[in-house]
Symmetry: C2
Subunit: 378 residues, 2 copies
């Protein structure tokens, strides 16, 4: 009937399932119960923007032996049938009396699964009504499945790495075209809109994230929505994007200068570029996330206490997080961001970000390396 989705071959999902099952066996789990867009896409290939609707819960059960089972709203059946998943059970959602809970319960019983791992740890959440989860907890032994899931998802296959490289390349072309849309006099919110259009023109399927800011001394804040303030000569403009192609994100930024930046901005930008260069030279598997934080903050006068990098894949940000507290081991196959920041003034900073895959020999860039001295805008 409908054509299969061709984002990945079925072998990719078989390998992911096998890896999850190895972890489940190590953690003594009968199954993982997954509810988020990223976890459902990872295990099934089910890719849709329909997650934007919070109305309905979606469930994928990955048993410790056998194949994944989808327990989903009927509106998702035609799309799920185009994935590699064969066992698809549906209900007519949303239903205020029983929104899939009895179907999920019956399915878990039917499959004789009792000790169920659900992600409960750092950087996770449960995407289903809590009241229904509490009901479910009375019938099954539900424990934390975070380690089994994270240990698997954090290592990207070559097919995944290629997807992330693709969207990084697309975003790189859009960044190259920023001088077309940004110059003195253009309001920042117009730059944000036009930058999203550039990303789409260059091949992004959609643009889940654009952030940025502009000012003569850098920026006080990197997550505010764009104001209608026009760019002015001397401003540094930062644009950061999580654009998506085939369900995979890039997450890198670029700084551009409207005319001539101040010496302080130029020096800070160079320091960030050099800090990244050092990380590109020295990061290795076997180090820990906190080591990456140390490497990235070391060369900077005012090392940020914040997160200076993180995992990347089917979400804009994934674990581990490069903070002083995160001791996750860095392993070959992790896709990561390097995101040093430094103060220009007491209140204003610059941020620089690149995307890499960690190989046995060290980082391999996925984002096209930023120009050392930034881009100049009219």
């Amino acid at each position: 009937m409908a054509e299969p989705l061709l984002i990945f071959p079925d072998d990719e999902f078989r390998a992911r399932t096998a890896q999850l099952q190895a972890e489940m066996n190590a953690h003594d789990l009968d199954a993982l119960l997954l509810t988020t867009p990223q976890d459902v896409f990872y295990t099934t290939g089910f890719l849709t923007r329909f997650w934007e609707s919070p109305a309905r819960p979606w469930f994928v059960i990955v048993p410790a032996a056998g194949l994944p089972v989808a327990v989903i709203p009927s509106i998702g059946a035609p799309l799920m049938q185009r994935t590699w998943v064969a066992d698809i059970r549906t209900w007519d959602a949303p239903n205020p009396v029983d929104d899939g809970l009895s179907l999920l319960t019956d399915t878990l019983r039917d499959l004789r699964l009792h000790r169920i791992g659900v992600p409960m740890g750092l950087e996770t959440h449960l995407r289903m009504p809590l009241a229904d989860f509490h009901s479910l907890s009375k019938s099954f032994d539900i424990v934390d499945g975070t380690p089994a899931l994270h240990r698997t998802r954090e290592i990207k296959s070559e097919a995944e790495i290629a997807k992330i490289r693709d969207i990084c390349t697309i975003a790189g072309r859009a960044f190259d075209r920023v001088p077309e849309i940004a110059h003195a006099g253009v309001p920042l919110n117009q730059v944000f809109r036009d930058f999203q259009s550039l990303l789409l023109q260059e091949g992004a399927d959609w643009v889940s994230y654009v952030a940025g800011a502009a000012g003569p001394d850098g920026y006080a804040d990197v997550i505010s929505p764009a104001a209608p303030t026009p760019l002015r000569p001397g401003d540094v403009l930062m644009l950061d994007t999580g654009a998506v192609r085939d369900g995979y994100f890039c997450d890198f930024d670029r700084n551009a200068f409207v005319g001539t930046p101040s010496d302080a901005v130029r020096r800070t930008h160079d320091r960030l570029w050099q800090a990244t260069e050092i990380a590109l030279d020295t990061l290795r598997p076997g180090m820990r996330a906190c080591d990456a934080h140390r490497i990235l903050s070391g060369p900077l006068d005012a090392p940020g206490a914040g997160r200076l990098g993180h995992g990347l894949g089917t979400a804009l940000t994934e674990w581990p997080s490069f903070t002083p507290h995160d001791t996750t081991e860095l392993r070959a196959g992790m896709v990561l961001t390097l995101e040093p920041s430094a103060h220009v003034t007491d209140t204003h900073i610059l941020v620089h970000e690149e995307n890499i895959v960690l190989r046995d020999h060290g980082p391999e860039l996925l984002s096209p390396r930023a120009p050392q001295f930034g881009t100049v805008l009219r």
Copy 2:
């Protein structure tokens, strides 16, 4: 320092807080604890795309008396300081040892709040790690806060209605320009990209949702990603969007015909248009969501069992849901979608969608009414 965000005046948030507090008192709650992007934006005005990063939890406490308190990652402090919220407590997130849990616990104790409402019901989820929530549950009496929250959020203020009308108007202009980008020979995924650019050009801040499909008999599926299949003469093209301006969504679709559609498609489109017309004439406050489902499905040969409309606001879809099971009372001030669907063949459907605000006298359109006979494309 930084300029206040000007999406709404502080009075808007005072009124929302007062309404939440009236509901909390009716439900015997000391406070609501809120964690999702929509609930945080609704109570504080904190608007950012940074929610796309799942790394950090964010908390807003709305006490039954007094003002909201934000317990948030420090990266959000500059933006939260631009809202009306005065009491902002931050921690350096993500922290694998204690990701805000002790700060949240201390804050609730400090404010002498014990019986805490958390949304647990239909169409809700909790955006924080479940393990941390379980810890929190040991120290406080946590109960379902869904009714208090939903009863408040589901009635939109005139300021909110104006925002939704704005984004509907923007999307209407983009739909009017679809003939510029869609005609025979253009691949569907290119149409999706260009339609998103049109929405941005016409004034959307970002485009959180585009769905659609094309085929000679309608479409089997409305949530799949777009394939590179070119449009063909005789196809009906449906595009549906949840574009965003100032944090508010539209959610409506349009059907367009590549040349001449089949009689079956034309008849079905007309039936959907007429079903909507009847709903526009007859829907009234005091009816229930299931009545709206009956009104919308009544004139159609093959009434869908699915959801034929829903709430709309700071999320693409909100409660209530027009299903046979939802008995939520429709009240004046609700912003709703009318979304009838009908079969063209056994497997293929057409969907038509408009956005309204329910007034005392009945629906007032927020989306520009679809052309009765669709749009014709080259």
